[in-house]
Amino acid sequence: MKIKNQEDFWAGMMFAGFGALAIWLSTDYPMGTASRMGPGYFPTWLGAIMLLLGTIVAVMALKTEGPKVTPFAWKPMILLSAGFLAFGWGVDHIGFIPALFLLSVITAAAGQTFKVVEVLIMTVVLIAGAVGIFIYGIELPFPLFWWR
């Protein structure tokens, strides 16, 4: 079988998948009736609509010609996510400044050029700016380092 319109096909599959997921998750919530809806009613129907529409989009994509999906940029995706993960974990555990350091250095590594000196200078400037604006300027209650 040849998929003629990759973009729409995968979009349809994604929507159908989300629809199925919503229906499955909603089985934990009481449905109620149309006149006295339970918490499961609305999400189940939304899931069903999406499963149906997603399937239609995917099936139609088999027939009509369309663009291919361009390849994913894995390296930036992994590094940007890692930077955010480091910050989210770090700000509570090792403090604002070390967390920012990790975030800045890891995200900088997602680009094409990574010159150590340049990145370090940028990181210091960013940290100084962020501490100035957020800690001293608008007084966000983040601990600066792990000891406070």
Binding site: E139, P141, W146, W147, R148
Partner: protein, 327 residues
């Protein structure tokens, strides 16, 4: 020395230095660093405003800044849990309310803290009364007439609340039970929308928080028929209490008070108690509270514990009877 040992050595060294830099906790120099006041509700709500008013003054008295740290979410249980688990050295406090220390533990299926066992109560600072108001189109001028009206058409009238499991729902459910009425609960998302629903006549009644409904009562847009406190409100001296309208013992209000994590040194607690009582009772602070529809109330840790136990029992019964279960 292997690489691992070297790393361990460096880490140990760093930790020692850090420990040395860390101020020794103890009363002698309390507070040694800014005090964190956890508010389990988003910035800008009524709890937050009162917390900020008190925090500013407390900071002046302690000689260290008191930083308000808003950790809102899940009916106040997220922030309160963080406070329960914080280091008990007096540098972390929380503003507890009827919601966080009574209703949430009683209504949620699972709450990761015990309001009595995990905290050292310090003192109440303020309380907010609740006011039962009707849409002016409802043919009842007092609580007795309203009860009669509701009983003549069971299941026909509606009341608004600020949400499932909110004090505004529990207050009305208590009245429903006390008077044998069947008024249907329509939950809204917050005091504002609930007030709008009563103003627009979408519902007939609302047991609303005083600051939210008082202006409308004063303007004649909503008809106040009873206050939920044990004494009449100075703002509405002609409106009787629910208790004196035929339901003795009825009392609903929202209190706000300070708590520290269990194990906070006694000396720190008594210092805080002294300062907070003085702050809450100062005339200008009382005036600020008044503007926010609250009144200054203070008490002792023992009284606070007793209050929580009574209320946990009282609201627990209503919550069970009304079938409220938050997950």
């Amino acid at each position: 020395m292997s690489m691992n040992n070297k790393i361990a050595g460096v880490v140990a060294g760093a930790l020692l230095v850090a420990a040395g830099l860390m101020p020794a906790s103890g009363l002698a120099q309390y507070p040694t660093k800014p005090v964190r006041l956890i508010v389990a509700f988003p910035a800008g709500g009524s709890t937050d405003i009162i917390a900020r008013l008190v925090a500013q003054r407390l900071g002046e008295k302690l000689g260290q800044q008191v930083i308000v740290d808003n950790r809102g979410g899940a009916g106040g249980t997220i922030g309160t849990e963080i406070a329960a688990k914080a280091t008990p050295d007096g540098h972390t406090l929380t503003m507890g309310t009827t919601s966080t220390h009574v209703i949430a533990p009683a209504a949620y299926a699972k709450v990761n803290y015990d309001p009595v066992k995990d905290f050292e109560p310090i003192t109440l600072v303020a309380s907010t009364p609740y006011l039962l108001v009707l849409h002016p189109g409802v043919k009842a001028n007092n609580l007795k007439e309203f009860v009669a009206l509701a009983k003549s058409q069971p299941g026909k009238l509606n009341y608004a609340s600020a949400g499932t499991g909110s004090t505004t729902q529990l207050a009305m459910e208590m009245l429903n039970r006390a008077a044998g009425m069947d008024i249907v609960h329509i939950p809204y998302s917050g005091n504002g929308p609930a007030g709008a629903a009563a103003l627009g006549g979408q519902v007939q009644a609302l047991f609303g928080s005083m600051p939210a409904v008082l202006p409308h009562a004063q303007a004649g847009r909503l008809r106040p028929i009873a206050v939920g406190t044990s004494k009449r409100s100075p703002a509405l001296p002609n409106v009787p209490t629910v208790a004196e309208s035929g339901y003795p013992g009825f009392e609903v209000s929202l209190w706000l008070g300070f708590f520290a994590p269990k194990g906070t040194p006694k000396a720190v607690l008594s210092r805080l108690q002294k300062e907070l009582v003085a702050i809450a009772n100062s005339p200008d602070m009382a005036a600020q509270f008044e503007k926010n529809g609250a009144s200054a109330v203070t008490n002792t840790p023992a009284e606070m514990t007793a209050l929580m136990k009574t209320e946990l029992d009282k609201y627990g019964k209503v919550i069970k009877a009304a079938g409220i279960q938050l997950k």
